[in-house]
């Protein structure tokens, strides 16, 4: 199954719903069927895009369809895909294809940071990069051991200290080691934390500052928020707090292989002007994919495009 098919099949439920609705639309015309627009809004709300955003998208699409005199379901679909795709902030610099880059992964507990680091390490190795992992989650029980297993799978060295040690100093050591090894890609895992915990957010800000300072222009430092696709409206609040404390560079959305659509990522990407670098669409090591807004929007709506 290709990524597109997989993503599409994951999103098929909503696609079917929209298809049904659009068939109705096709018969009745776009301007006179409130039920259709309600259903469309429902689909968007159910994707976790948020009620105000969904309202806005639908009413804009309504205006647009009327103005342009869109006749058929296909045209309305296409317009919606374009509209959703445009909401995303585009990726300008991909942290994983830079010459020398150091990426810090942050996020709340259970978002999938450690797994993402493991997958990206593997991806980097396959691309021929010299990868180094830093294990700065010194808090959670067995986080270091978990990362160790991933490191072995990808055949990547890990810089670690014992549980409970200072995460900022692990980052410092990691970059020391990266200098020694001449690594191209440094991936640093941090401990999950709720954005409401001020102490832990301050600690993380220190970790990021130390890393930025130590990188000293030799490595370009990226701070990436890992977001679970099942997250609801609180995701925006999370992202805002992390962004405020750390000045995020972008997002990775995980767990898109379930039935969750990750609609909150649309809002986050748009509102905080953060690009989405990767999406996780499966359990296996190669299931972390580049994010393509057109494909994503198309898969959500059920319209084939590109791929």
């Amino acid at each position: 199954m290709s990524f597109f098919e997989r993503l599409k099949s994951g999103l098929s439920k909503s696609r079917e719903r929209i298809n049904e609705s659009l068939n109705v639309l096709f018969e009745m015309g776009p301007d006179v069927n409130p039920e259709f627009w309600d259903d469309l809004e429902e689909t968007l709300v159910l994707s976790d895009m948020g009620a105000p955003a969904s309202d806005k998208i639908v009413s804009e699409l309504q205006d647009y369809s009327t103005k342009k005199g869109l006749g058929g379901a296909g045209q309305v679909k296409k317009a919606l895909v374009e509209q959703i795709a445009e909401i995303f902030t585009p990726v300008e610099i991909d942290p994983f294809t830079q010459e020398k880059s150091c990426v810090l992964f942050v996020g709340i507990n259970g978002a999938g940071k450690t797994t993402t680091v493991g997958k990206l390490a593997n991806e980097g190795v396959e691309r021929g990069n010299s990868v180094l992992i830093g294990s700065a989650d010194t808090f959670r029980a067995a986080a270091i051991e978990q990362l160790d297993v991933w490191g072995k799978r990808a055949n990547v060295e890990i810089v670690k200290r014992e549980r409970g040690s200072d995460p900022a100093s692990v980052c410092f050591d990691t970059l020391d080691r990266a200098d020694e090894l001449g690594s191209d890609l440094v991936l640093i895992d941090t401990a999950g934390r709720l954005h409401t915990s001020q102490d832990l957010m301050r600690e993380l800000a220190k970790v990021v500052n130390v890393t930025r300072k130590r990188a000293d222009g030799k490595y370009r430092v990226f701070v990436v928020l890992v977001l679970d696709a099942t997250t609801g409206q609180n995701g925006l609040q999370q992202a805002k707090e992390f962004n405020k404390a750390l000045e995020l560079d972008g997002l990775i959305v995980t767990k898109l292989d379930g039935t969750a659509k990750g609609g909150i990522a649309v809002a986050i990407s748009h509102e905080l002007e953060l690009p989405i670098y990767k999406i996780g669409v499966g359990e296996s090591i190669e299931d972390l994919k580049d994010f393509n807004p057109d494909e994503y929007a198309a898969a959500l709506i059920g319209e084939k495009q590109g791929a």
Binding site: A142, Q146, L194, T231, Q233, N234, K255, G258
Partner: protein
């Protein structure tokens, strides 16, 4: 911060005050706000629809239309409905007589199962149980290590088995528990997606093999709309008996909790509030309802103040039961009377005092006089009125600028009040005496709370606030 529902509805209804009554259109506007508040809290779209329809019906009732503050009235209706939806069934964790009891935890990846397992073990241990944790997540790297570390921290044994076959590990954990005299086995399973057929089958297999007394599903408080699909699948495939809501120490409103209840009917048993092992708390439907509506902060604040006030009140009541009613208390009650207004009505509420007030013309000057008399007493006299003899009465009268007669009258009122109180106390089954430090504990056999209520209302009448 989020707007809370009360504020939002206030906005809707403010403009309507001059109209004097609400139309159906006004109610519809209010429903729109309620809808937005619930959607913002991640309550599922369909459930919001049903819920607002229900609220609308109730809100259209006359009680709201005639209410002076329709906004608050509507909030109350929403809160009531939400609360009853969230928890009108028993939600305690009930262990059966089977030894060992088996509790199995299921959920999505990253929902917090392993952490919840350790917290549950800690809770049971605190209750005098001897739990063992079974590490049945063989997929996530180092999951068993994580559980073992957490187990060590709370001094609970973690059974790891061969680390390969989850069904076998769970089964062996039970055997281990029997041999090692443990009475509860908590089975921590791997996180799984509800659409992963093989993994759902595995959960079913574990369940069939160990026949858990309870299957608890761990649900992340931050989950969005998709929660409905997830819990439906888990309910249909594995089935579970209750829910633990995790990560509630964040600021997510946790509307998913409502969705879980509405879709599966399963009770929410615990909320998990932090990283520490003792942060698993019993679920309170009303608190959750308020949180969903964004009224959380205000409520907990009021709750705190309320608690402080109650504690003071209970302390006073306890002391009176222990040491008897003193003139200090009487002074407090007099002060309370001032706040409450009319003296006649208050005196009639004071046990035994009504007899004395019959025919007597009471006015507020009498309160002043009583106050002055007590103020003229020494601390010792106030606490032990029995020592007030003739010379003391004369001195007090002089100090307060009244006649000895007035002092006598006050002491008589006081003595009669004390007697009446004792009588009441005996009726309630509590006996004054030494070693009664337990205070209200002694009322347990009499039915606990209702007696406290009686006492409290009595205290209220006395103005002991």
């Amino acid at each position: 911060m989020f707007d809370n529902l009360a504020d939002r509805l206030q906005g809707v209804f403010d403009g309507l005050k001059s109209k004097g009554r609400l139309t159906e259109e006004d109610i519809s506007k209010a429903m729109k706000e309620i809808r937005m508040a619930l959607l913002e809290a991640d309550v599922n779209y369909k459930i919001v629809k049903d819920f607002t329809n229900k609220i609308k019906e109730r809100a259209l009732g006359a009680d709201v239309l005639e209410s002076l503050t329709p906004g608050q009235q509507v909030v109350k209706i929403v809160l009531d409905e939400l609360t009853s939806l969230l928890g009108d069934t028993e939600s305690k964790l009930t262990l059966t007589s089977r030894i060992p009891n088996v509790i199995m935890l299921v959920g999505l990846q990253g929902s917090g199962k392993t952490t919840a397992a350790a917290k549950l073990a800690y809770l049971l241990k605190e209750q005098g149980r001897r739990p063992v944790l079974a590490a049945c997540d063989v997929y996530r790297p180092a999951a068993a290590d994580q559980l073992e570390t957490l187990g060590n921290e709370i001094d609970v044994k973690v059974f790891r088995g061969d680390g390969k076959d989850p069904v076998a590990i769970a089964q062996s954990a039970i055997k281990f528990a029997v041999d090692d005299l443990k009475d509860v086995v908590i089975v921590d399973t791997a996180g799984r997606l509800h659409v992963d057929e093989a993994m759902m089958q595995e959960a079913k297999n574990i369940k069939a093999a160990v026949k858990p007394d309870q299957v608890l599903m761990v649900v992340d408080a931050m989950t969005g709309q998709d929660i409905v699909t997830v819990v439906e699948a888990f309910a249909n495939e594995v089935d579970f008996d209750g829910v633990i809501i995790s990560k509630l120490d964040g600021d997510a409103r946790g509307g998913g909790a409502l969705s879980v209840r509405a879709v599966t009917g399963k009770p929410i048993k615990f909320v998990s509030m932090g990283e520490k092992p003792d942060s698993l708390e019993v679920f309170h439907p009303e608190r959750m309802a308020k949180r969903i509506l964004g009224m959380g902060d205000v409520v907990s604040l009021i709750e705190k103040a309320q608690k402080a006030a109650d504690e003071k009140q209970i302390e006073d009541a306890e002391r009176i039961l222990r040491d008897g009613f003193t003139l200090e208390d009487f002074l407090k009650s007099i002060k309370g009377m001032r706040k409450m207004g009319g003296l006649n009505s208050i005196m009639s509420a004071l046990p035994g005092a009504n007899k004395l007030t019959q025919g007597a013309d009471l006015d507020d000057s009498m309160i002043d006089r009583m106050e002055a008399i007590i103020y003229s007493m020494t601390k010792e006299e106030r606490l032990k009125p029995k020592i007030i003899n003739g010379p003391r009465r004369a001195r007090i009268a002089k100090g307060a600028g009244v006649e000895v007669y007035d002092v006598n009258q006050l002491l008589k009122i006081f003595n009669d009040g004390t007697k009446a109180m004792k009588k009441l106390q005996n009726q309630m089954g509590g006996k004054k005496g030494k070693g009664k430090r337990k205070g209200f504990g002694g009322f347990g056999k009499m039915g606990g709370m209702p007696d406290m209520g009686d006492l409290k209302s009595m205290m209220d009448k006395l103005g002991l606030k």
